[in-house]
Symmetry: C2
Subunit: 314 residues, 2 copies
């Protein structure tokens, strides 16, 4: 069974329970409309020792910071502003005390940067490794919510920054080079939190999500949800170390992936640059393909990359 | 460092970040006021293999059901109605597939009973044991919210049902008698969800919480938060197997503990009984004691029980 197969099982099992006003179940976040024109959005992400981090190669500060980052990234990917988190932490005996306090300092460093309050949670012992689960809550004007399902044929596809650095960092760590810049970015990634909230306010931005499992895998989610296809110009992908395969398949970059009405792309990129000091990268176009296929092109020539799969945690 | 010491560290670390309109941080749930007279409440609870359950002595169905129950119990203890949960699940390879599907059936059985939608979450692999973290969301009229801090001198203290069964069940399991009724209740406890929501609507109910760590420990939370003391008549405690020490110190009963203005206790008990078919138990009185001390009495005589401590997961 794959992760997505299991999620389908869960969805089918819960189909008979009323939605209680929630929308967007299956997107980066679940959405609960509240006052007037506002909504709250919710997401949960878990980090598991041995799967998402190694205690021997990451500091507790970095693990705490990353636990906050990956969750705030999902909030921002909806166009929302993160306002609060709840933190569940299972700690083996040797991690209680100094390790846990340093974890909290890292968690706080990211939370305070974006003004996100820790409002609840649970701490417990663990007989095995460290487990972290975070629920993040965001607030957004309903009109600004960006869903995976809103990509339109003709849209330009953009990514918010360089891809593949996290995967290079992981392979640096595994090959005994834990002090490289990429390794540090893998352990403590920077998400595009303010960028996501701002892109939410831009009407010409249609679909958005963050890239956590790899461009190939995450773009496919947008295509499937929007019932469209895509052409990607591989030479335009901002690939770390010019390694395109790694940029497409590597996970945990936490850069935004979004589609924009083509006639306002130039303006959007210019305004984004004035605001944030750098530009996002146009890498392709949404197509009217109900098979939801990604067509990879290299300098205009169609190329086949059937082995370009995303990162999986199972 | 104790669990509560660590929570204090977290609170101090995050004190400088604005509350973003959240209240009640440190109660059973965090509170976010929304439309007009409403609020949302949030809680997270984690269950960890080897600490909260053993895979060899609990079915995946029971573990799934209990994961939902303990979280919905915290929502109900605020006087709120649970509306949604997010579920994070870390699964070792051998639990992917049948085990996980049976877990979801158990989780669904409790969720559907109370009409609670699963709106999000995360599934991931685990290199060690099963780890479950649930965030539950509840909805409540702001006037109906019951806090730990609202107990008043003179209030009668009530518990919602028999205490100590879960602890007896755990010791049955550990001594090779896993099929007793108490053992089944330990594995798959029943929380007072509808009772909590209804008690929320009763103005004469002042403070409320659920008993998860034991009467002794949880009553102390109410006293400390309310700056009051308590006299408990130990002979009135509804103790399973007439074992009062076990009833006071055992954890995981998930019965409600609440304080009621004394002049309406009789009416409240009668109305509760008509509605739910059984009665809660008055066990003592809130006192004006700023040392927040619990005075134990046995048939009117003061007795000392300095060793009556609650259950701890560290």
């Amino acid at each position: 069974m794959t992760e997505f197969g299991f999620i389908e099982t869960i969805r089918a099992t819960f189909a008979s329970i009323p939605d209680n006003a929630f929308e967007g179940i299956g997107d980066d976040c679940a959405i609960l409309p509240t006052d007037g024109d506002e909504a709250l959005v919710f997401t949960s992400d878990a980090l598991c020792e041995g799967v998402h981090f190694l205690r021997e190669s990451s500091t507790p500060f970095d693990i705490g910071a990353k636990s906050a980052t990956v969750n705030l990234s999902d909030i921002a990917a909806m166009g929302a502003r993160p306002i609060a988190t709840l933190l569940s932490l299972a700690l083996p005996q040797e991690a209680v005390g100094e390790w846990a306090e340093e974890f909290i300092r890292g968690y706080h460093s990211v939370s305070s940067r974006y003004g996100v309050k820790l409002v609840g949670g649970d701490t417990t012992g663990s007989k095995t490794g460290v487990f972290v689960s975070v629920t993040a809550i965001g607030r957004v004007k309903r009109a600004n919510i960006k869903r995976r399902s809103s990509a339109k044929p003709g849209d330009t596809i953009l990514v918010g920054g360089v891809l593949g650095e996290s995967a290079i960092g992981l392979s640096d760590i595994l090959s005994g080079n834990p002090h490289s810049a990429a390794a540090q970015l893998h352990r403590n990634p920077v998400a595009q939190i303010e960028e996501g909230e701002w892109l939410g306010t831009q009407e010409c931005v249609h679909a958005m999500m963050d890239i956590s499992d790899g461009l190939s895998s995450d773009l496919q989610h947008i295509l499937t949800a929007s019932h469209v296809g895509a052409i990607i110009d591989t030479e335009k992908i901002p690939a770390a170390n010019a390694d395109v395969r790694n940029a497409v398949c590597g996970g945990e970059d936490y850069k935004l992936l979004f589609t924009v009405a083509t006639d306002c792309v130039t303006d959007l990129i210019a305004t984004f640059e004035r605001r944030f000091g750098y530009t996002p990268y146009p890498i392709g176009t949404i197509t009217a393909d109900s098979d939801c296929h990604i067509e990879w092109r290299e300098n205009g020539r169609r190329v086949s990359h059937t082995d370009w799969q995303g990162f999986t945690h199972f």
